[in-house]
């Protein structure tokens, strides 16, 4: 490229020539100005080759001035902040910026991987399905050969490399609500936003560049007597003054979801070397808009011809923007190739900035007098009815070859002119940026005049304005935008203000192109690129068609056209046109693929926001700090953090729980059960409701008593178990397992709202209200006798399953005499914020009895020894009878599940039943092992069931487990095996009753 900086007046309106910035590209230092993008600065420094293409490693240069850029992808920054595949056109230049090319080694100018080009057709579309196959012979099956090639291809594939270090930046999320969301801060967006704001609507305006203005930046067109540039600046100042307007610059609206939810990404700090302290790098906005005005403009597309990818070939309007906005011209000897009038506007503007435009080649058969006059006025030779047949140049374009174009055959004759040029500007038409409108469905509509897709029917409350809606030209744009604003306001019940339409003085240029997309030569030679980023050629498109991949969805996936980081913004329509021609159909019949969010690449950090590290909320018991200080292994039990064991120095987990469980059975221990689900059930129909929820009878539960209950699902399977205490006539406290607290609450609320709304029952979750401590062991009562006041703790006054109120050191408590462990035990509840004080008081009162804190492992061990079922047995596939709890299924009342619990299938023989298993060979039994008859580990045979909860039993001094075994109850006494092929274990066991310790329950009743 022979780009260079100019300083004519009225050029470089975005840059501040007094603020010099230094930056590094591929290790070399350059300078630019504040306001430059990396692209404009590189262009100004004459850097031509910016990288190498994806597949063929061809040298590539700057192609555009915006987010549609397919070529100039760089890796920005280094180390932890290194970010690949960023478009140089989107990078705001700052002092100290470091960037480098991708996909080339050692440099873009000299790339060893360019050897790929010699592979030629071996790398055409779908090559990985076709080329790298082996002969299907003997051992050499087709896919195995591919596996070898795959490794090499994967290493060579991809563009930039991501850093493997942790991202040090903060990302945030934000929610916003508005009446009108305006997407785009160009003329259409600005005037629509202003109209909405004037009417009193709450407006959010998103502009993806640092400054609003869009096509008005540097514009000399007149709006209400003011130059466009000035008008835009005044408009945004007026908008900023409105209280109800939020302007988000550097913000790209990425996605349009159901119910007018839009997602935008704000690049808060990407224009600085690094974010300020506590500043997020990017912010992800979820915006609920009552109405949306989409003013996203349009993308220029190129023409396709042989050698159309050489560095130095650029979109015409992009070159105009570089001249006007950044004060840079892309070459000293410029030529232009076009099929429409807009390229002439670009040419004239650039000539006014001092550009030397030598030749304009127009593929149309005729052009208007005005167009001829423009060419003449800038001193350019005009060749009408001709086309560029190919280009020349080694690392950059040096010449184009022009010949006569036959409009019928769409072929260009062998070239008659060889024109020297260091920069070829191309213009093939304009594609409205309709992406957001198509993301959730609306099928785009083909416009024959524009040769482009327009947005389809609006399936949500949005309105199009400006070029996005096919309204080109400043007057049209502003009119369509004020109409859109009016419609949007009316749709949400806000009266638009009666304002005069702005008076526009601008030259209206037709955007309608000739229906020419590709220039073909009679003799196929060279490569004509459609998708520059994925190196997809027009021959690839025709190849796909020949091989039967004729639908646009197949075209896309088979050739990868439109699948790169630019998502085909400058290539989709051209690709469709070529496929349509191959199919002999009109483009509108071929259609287009559905656009998918996001609109441009989004960094994962922005989507994650603050959700990294600990990904879920965590719930802590009131005694959490004490557990940690005591050295407990804390682990996550759902959202709760709970102590597994309290390891003393040198202990393994197993040694710890054996010690703790042993201490409980010997004297007394205490365990934190604050995490149990607790639900406050009140109301005149509370008792009746409980009777319908539980499978066993609850109607006659006396006040001051607790009862263990089973809940079934409506399909007859077990849902949960728990204990409900009757506190008063119409007042109950229900406890559930920790894991099922939420589901049980939802289950009950559903039945009260949907099934039996006539019942008067109040349900309030009180899990957080109560701290709970279980005191278990033969000395548990003695500990409480020592510290409880206000209630008689004797066996007679306080029988098994009784519930009492009392106090411990002035803390009001509730005590229930329940046992999970099978020992004499009590559950003591108090207000959660007294929990630690209660725990301290119990530890104190228990000193005399060597009280031992125990964790979940010991708790599990005790209940496994006792044969109490819990989560692993209540796995959703077992019923009451399977677990030996058939006696708890009442036949005297209807309840949830009472009909289907009697299904044949739930009562037939052969079902797996709860049993206990004792190891006969000293091997540890693993939960989730299969129970088998065979002693042969290699041939285990049929699975008869599985182990559910396993541990070492301190009481029985051997490894034990609970399990579900086919016809288990009939097999007590049998000798079987447990086997786990995945973990490589196989051991001998004896089937026993699940109630392995104190089966008569004397300890807890004593």
């Amino acid at each position: 490229m022979s780009g260079y900086r100019i300083s004519s007046p009225d050029t470089g309106v975005r840059i501040d020539p007094t603020k010099l910035l230094n930056f590094s590209f591929n290790g070399r230092t350059y300078s630019g100005f504040e306001g430059d993008t990396l692209a404009s600065a590189l262009l100004a420094n004459g850097v031509g080759v910016l990288g190498r293409s994806f597949k063929y490693h061809r040298p590539r240069g700057l192609f555009s001035a915006g987010l549609e850029e397919p070529n100039a992808l760089v890796t920005l920054r280094q180390g932890r902040r290194s970010e690949p595949n960023i478009k140089a056109t989107e990078i705001e230049l700052y002092d100290g910026l470091i960037a480098k090319s991708q996909n080339c080694w050692p440099s873009p100018k000299f790339d060893l991987m360019a050897i790929n080009q010699l592979a030629g057709n071996a790398l055409s579309a779908g090559f990985y399905y076709k080329t790298f196959m082996g002969p299907n012979v003997f051992f050499n099956k087709t896919t195995e050969v591919w596996w070898q090639f795959e490794k090499i291809i994967r290493r060579a594939a991809g563009l930039g490399k991501a850093s493997l270090e942790a991202d040090p930046d903060i990302y945030e999320r934000m929610h916003a609500w508005c009446d009108v969301l305006v997407v785009g801060g160009g003329p259409a967006g600005l005037i629509a936003g202003e109209r909405a704001a004037e009417a009193g609507a709450k407006v959010i305006l998103c502009e993806q560049m640092a400054e609003t203005g869009g096509s008005l930046v540097g514009s000399k067109d007149l709006i209400d007597g003011m130059e466009g540039d000035e008008w835009a600046k005044a408009c945004i100042e007026r908008l900023k003054d409105h209280e109800n307007v939020r302007i988000l610059t550097r913000t790209t609206v990425q996605s349009y979801y159901d119910d007018n939810l839009l997602h935008a990404i704000e690049r808060v700090a990407d224009h600085k070397i690094k974010p300020d302290a506590f500043e997020p790098r990017q912010r992800s906005w979820k915006i609920r808009a009552k109405s949306v005005i989409i003013a996203t403009g349009a993308f220029e597309r190129p023409l396709v011809f042989s050698g159309n990818d050489r560095p130095g070939i650029m979109l015409a309007d992009a070159a105009r923007r570089y001249a006007v906005e950044y004060g840079v011209l892309p070459g000293k000897l410029i030529s232009i190739f076009t099929n429409n009038d807009t390229a002439y506007h670009a040419a004239r503007t650039m000539a006014d900035c001092g550009a030397n435009i030598k030749t304009i080649i127009d593929v149309r058969q005729q052009v208007s007098g005005e167009i001829r006059a423009i060419a003449a006025s800038i001193g350019a030779e005009l060749l009408v009815g001709d086309a560029v047949s190919r280009t020349s140049g080694l690392q950059k374009i040096s010449a184009i070859h022009v010949g006569h174009f036959n409009a019928d055959s769409k072929l260009v004759a062998p070239s008659t002119h060889r024109i020297e040029t260091d920069c070829l500007l191309v213009s093939g038409g304009w594609s409205p940026a309709i992406h957001l409108t198509s993301q959730f469905g609306g099928t785009p509509i083909w416009d024959e005049g524009l040769q482009a897709f327009l947005p389809g029917k609006a399936l949500q409350n949005w309105y199009g304005a400006g070029a996005m809606a096919g309204k080109f030209g400043l007057a049209n744009t502003l009119l369509s935008a004020t109409d859109a604003a009016k419609s949007a306001l009316k749709s949400i019940g806000i009266k638009p203000k009666k304002l005069k339409p702005p008076i526009v003085n601008s030259e209206e240029i037709s955007v309608q192109p000739a229906a020419v997309y590709e220039i073909r030569r009679a003799i196929k030679k060279g490569k004509s690129f459609v998708d520059l980023q994925h190196d997809v050629t027009s021959e690839d498109v025709r190849l796909a068609h020949r091989e039967g991949f004729i639908s646009v969805e197949h075209l896309k996936r088979y050739t990868t056209l439109g699948m790169a980081t630019d998502q085909g913004k400058t290539s989709n329509v051209t690709g469709l046109a070529i496929m349509a021609e191959a199919r002999g159909e009109a483009i509108e019949d071929v259609g287009t693929t559905r656009f998918r969010p996001p609109f441009t690449p989004v960094t994962l950090g922005a989507i994650a926001g603050e959700n990294y590290g600990h990904l879920k909320p965590y719930r802590l018991s009131p005694m959490n700090d004490w557990h940690i200080a005591r050295g407990a292994n804390m682990y996550a039990n759902g959202l709760w953090m709970r102590p597994e064991t309290y390891n003393q120095s040198g202990e393994t987990v197993e040694q710890a729980y054996i010690r703790e469980a042993g201490a409980v059975r010997k004297s007394v221990g205490l365990v934190d059960v604050s995490t149990l689900g607790k639900i406050d059930v009140q109301g005149p129909d509370a008792g009746e409701f409980l009777n319908r929820i539980y499978s066993n009878g609850f109607a006659k539960l006396p006040i001051g008593k607790a009862r263990y209950g089973l809940m079934l699902r409506e399909d007859g399977f077990l849902f949960d178990d728990g204990t409900t205490w009757r506190l008063d006539e119409n007042h109950y406290l229900m406890t559930t397992t920790t894991a099922k607290a939420g589901p049980v609450m939802e289950h009950m609320e559903y039945h009260l709202d949907v099934v039996w709304p006539e019942l008067k029952v109040s349900l309030v979750s009180v899990t957080d209200q109560w701290a709970g401590i279980a005191l278990a062991g033969p000395n548990s009562r003695k500990v409480l006798e020592a510290c409880v006041s206000g209630t008689d703790m004797s066996d007679k006054a306080f029988p098994f399953m009784g519930v009492r109120d009392g106090e411990i050191t002035d803390i009001p408590i509730k005590i229930a005499r329940l046992s999970f462990s099978g020992e004499m035990a009590f559950e003591v509840f108090c207000g959660a914020m007294h929990g630690q004080a209660l725990w301290d008081a119990l530890m104190d009162a228990g000193k005399a009895f060597d009280i031992t804190p125990y964790g979940l492992e010991a708790l599990s061990t005790l209940r496994i020894e006792k044969g109490h079922v819990a989560g692993p047995e209540l796995n959703g596939r077992t019923n009451a009878n399977d677990l030996g709890l058939g006696g708890m299924v009442s036949t005297k009342k209807p309840f949830i599940g009472s009909v289907l619990v009697h299904r044949e299938a739930l009562n037939e023989t052969g079902r797996k039943q709860l049993v206990g298993l004792r190891s006969l060979d000293g091997q540890k039994i693993l939960g989730g092992s299969h129970i088998v008859a065979s002693a042969d580990q290699a041939q285990p045979g049929e699975s008869l069931g599985h182990t559910t909860s396993a541990c070492f039993s301190p009481e029985l001094n051997c490894y034990i487990s609970l399990g579900l075994l086919k016809d288990g109850r009939a097999r007590i006494g049998e000798k079987l095996h447990v086997t786990s092929p995945v973990r490589g274990t196989h051991g001998a066991v004896e089937v026993v009753s699940p109630h392995m310790v104190d089966p008569d329950g004397r300890r807890m009743h004593g």
Partner: protein, 201 residues
């Protein structure tokens, strides 16, 4: 009575955190926290609803206008949290008992939640900005007027928000989730800078 220990006691220490203090006009964000003297949920059923509402008005000297209106005075704040449901904060420690005495005979339900919530008060020009980072409701005055309350969620955790005035919000957070919630709020508020102050009503 034994003092209540809040899980936030050790996490919220007075001082300034995050972005350095503003020397300009913009006031810093102020955050404080408290436990409730009493917090009660009162439930009424359709037939008895009117009677319960009248009883509540008599007991609290507040007028219940219906909907999400959350009237407050020196002694009580009433926050409707659903059809026939009221979350009531009282400044005296015996309110639960008093409500039980009057409401239960009037055929309503009373549940003590005094220990079940921790209240974080956030106040300042930037309060809405910070809250909107994690809470997906419309905080504009039009959509969320002063002296109303909202039951919503944050990271799947239920949360009740009472708008005390234009810039001041009381967040009623589940006690067991308070530390986790604070972890998020601290990070979100550091962006603008905040000060932990002693709780002042």
């Amino acid at each position: 009575m034994v003092e209540k220990t809040s899980p936030l006691d050790k996490l919220l220490k007075t001082g300034h955190y995050g972005k350095p203090e503003n020397t300009g006009e913009q006031a810093d964000l102020k955050i404080s926290h408290r436990t409730c003297e009493s917090l009660v949920q009162v439930t009424a059923w359709p037939k008895t609803g009117k009677g319960i509402a009248t009883t509540l008005e008599k007991m609290t000297h507040l007028s219940l206008q219906g909907g999400d209106a959350s009237p407050a005075n020196e002694d009580f704040t009433i926050m409707p949290t659903g059809p026939g449901q009221y979350l009531i904060e009282a400044q005296s420690g015996d309110a639960t008992g008093r409500f039980q005495k009057k409401i239960i005979p009037a055929k309503g339900a009373v549940t003590d939640l005094t220990h079940a919530r921790v209240v974080i008060r956030i106040s300042g020009d930037q309060a809405v900005w910070v809250l909107a980072k994690g809470i997906a409701i419309d905080f504009s005055l039009q959509a969320f007027p002063v002296a109303t309350s909202r039951n919503t969620a944050h990271h799947q955790i239920s949360l009740t928000i009472h708008r005390v005035n234009e810039n001041t919000f009381d967040l009623f957070v589940f006690t067991s989730l308070a530390c986790s919630f604070w972890h998020w709020l601290d990070r979100a508020a550091k962006e603008v800078g905040y000060e932990i102050v002693r709780n002042v009503k």
